[in-house]
Amino acid sequence: MSEVQPTQPEQDNHPDQMPEFEERLLLAERKDWEINEAVLQPMFKTGRGFWILVAILSAIVLWGFYAWGYLIYWGMGTAGINRPVYWGLFITTFVFWVGISHAGTMISAVLRLLKADWRRPITRGAEAMTAFALMMAGLYPLIHLGRVWKFYWMIPYPNNRFMWPNFQSPLMWDMVAIFTYLIGSSLYLYLALIPDMAMARDYTEGWRYKLYRVLALGWRGTEAEWHKLHRALGIFSVAIIPIFLSVHSIVSWDFAVTIQPRWHSTIFAPYFVIGAVYSGLSALASILIIVRRSMRLQEFLRSEHFDSLGKLVMVAGMAWVYFWFAGFIVEWYGNEPIVRELIHEEVSGPLAPFFYLQMGANIIPIILLVFKRVRTTPVLLLGTTLLVNVGMFTERALIVIGSLQRNDLPFNWGTYRPSWVEISIVAMTFAGFALLYTLFSRIIPFVPVWEIKEGRLRYTLRRIGRLLVPTAAEIE
């Protein structure tokens, strides 16, 4: 590791590049303990604003649970679903959350494999997002059960009737896949956390010390430990990628395996997966921007990270448009009556507002993200990425509800209006997610300190002409 002093002249001549360098050099000449401090300090400050936020979120969550109780007690009828729209906002939001959960592994696993160095400061945030989003998603299969008190009949255990669940049912695939993914991403998150827990342990006392001590499992940082940790993480990042691909494919098959018009499509799996990545990455960007602001992590989450993230989002978006089009053109061209009807409904019928909201909110961001200015200006990026998720949510609603409202027998068509119960419960999961994340950010070092230090080992600043350029060495 080399500590290169900034040299005055460059700074004068290139005022516009100053901040970039400043930060990099800053980090470069920071002592390890300074970095530790910088990461840990914001965790310890929980001001009034923080508690107010927690209070509000908890209130929403509690209300949501009341609504759920109401739903269970009075029956599914208290939700807005009916015949033929047997699935409504619940399944829509379920798909949405599963989608959000896809960014975590995308960032940490795929990028770790690719040795993309800019991933380092954002991996933990991403993995946490995955875990929490999956927890929220996992609630819905329970919530939408008519007799939730019998949910355990879906669990494969040798019961007194010798009856096993039906493993041909996509819902079973769903359940096991999501469970697997949840376990996987949580363990992945935790494994990479151990060294930082040890670090935090050495810097704290009181309840935090007790907590971190337990979580650190007695980590010291011997070479052997580091070595094993690396191997484990390596295996994880390979193993979790197929899982993350499978999960949303399976969710898509919930729909695609039926012969419901517009659901019965082969492109659904990749279409859903890419949509998931798109919305997941956007959500990640939004969250990072907010956390960065609230926890003053500008030093670690720097514009170059958002720049790369923005590019990734843009690419995912393009891919989404491609898959959407690939599906749409076939349906449009095939001109099957019911499908024609459905497309008509979307393009110029009652569903038109949602359809154009979806298309607009999913395509405009791609164009915006072409500009570096948008990618690197937090406010603009925040707006753009939030827009993406509005679009993706609408897309899911259109797929689930829009298709169910129509079927082959026009006599059986129907319409759907969400009820206060559904809206409350959906709100509950959003609030619950935010709550978990807020608490997480105050308890767990949001930036993976050891990974940053590891990355820092590779930095050198080379002088190219009149520029100081950071260069990272390829080691391992």
């Binding site: 010798f162 493993f167 697997t180 376990i183 040890a198 007695g218 070479e223 080992l457």
Partner: protein, 174 residues
């Protein structure tokens, strides 16, 4: 071997550490008598020590196999334990079976990896262990065990490479 000494030494910087370790080798203290504790994962060989062999991959392989078999049981055996016809499907179809088997294999892989690595590090281990808090502050710590006879040379080697806090390693609760 007769009586041995234990020693901990902290370094500011990796190059010194590496050189010190080399010289200690020449003194005839071999690797397993030395433990290097760092707050940052140094690349293999950076400190001039060989990499040890891991059973982790085998644990994972076994776990994966177990998962595969469990998936196989659920997807292929259970439908026959309680036969019910559905929608003209055969009791066992390839695609659903493939999905179930795949997912359970992956689940087992992940879990066994995690448990495997904990087992290898024999974690959790909260008992007192030789450690120094400055490690997380960026220092590199070297724990030594050597025959008492070499004491003076060892100390001299360490000091020559800007080591500090040389002394009895304090065992602290972790």
């Amino acid at each position: 071997m007769d009586k041995t000494n234990n020693l901990i030494a902290l370094f500011h910087e990796s190059t010194d550490t590496a050189e010190a370790i080399d010289e200690l080798h020449t003194l005839g203290i071999d690797d397993e008598k030395m433990v290097v504790i760092t707050g940052v994962p140094y690349p293999h060989g950076a400190l001039g020590r060989q990499v040890e062999w891991l059973t982790l991959p085998y644990i994972v392989a076994v776990g994966a196999l177990a998962g595969f078999l469990f998936g196989l049981f659920l997807a292929v055996i259970t439908p026959h334990l309680y036969r019910l016809d559905i929608g003209g499907h055969p009791p066992v179809g390839f695609p659903p079976a493939a999905i179930i088997i795949f997912v359970f294999t992956m689940m087992a892989t992940i879990v066994s990896t995690f448990l495997g690595v904990l087992w290898e590090m024999n974690f959790p281990r909260f008992g007192p262990a030789p450690y120094h808090k400055l490690v997380t502050a960026g220092h590199l710590a070297v724990l030594l065990e050597y025959p008492a006879t070499l004491d003076s040379q060892v100390r001299q080697v360490l000091e020559s490479h800007k080591a500090h806090h040389i002394g009895e390693p304090e065992r602290m609760a972790l």
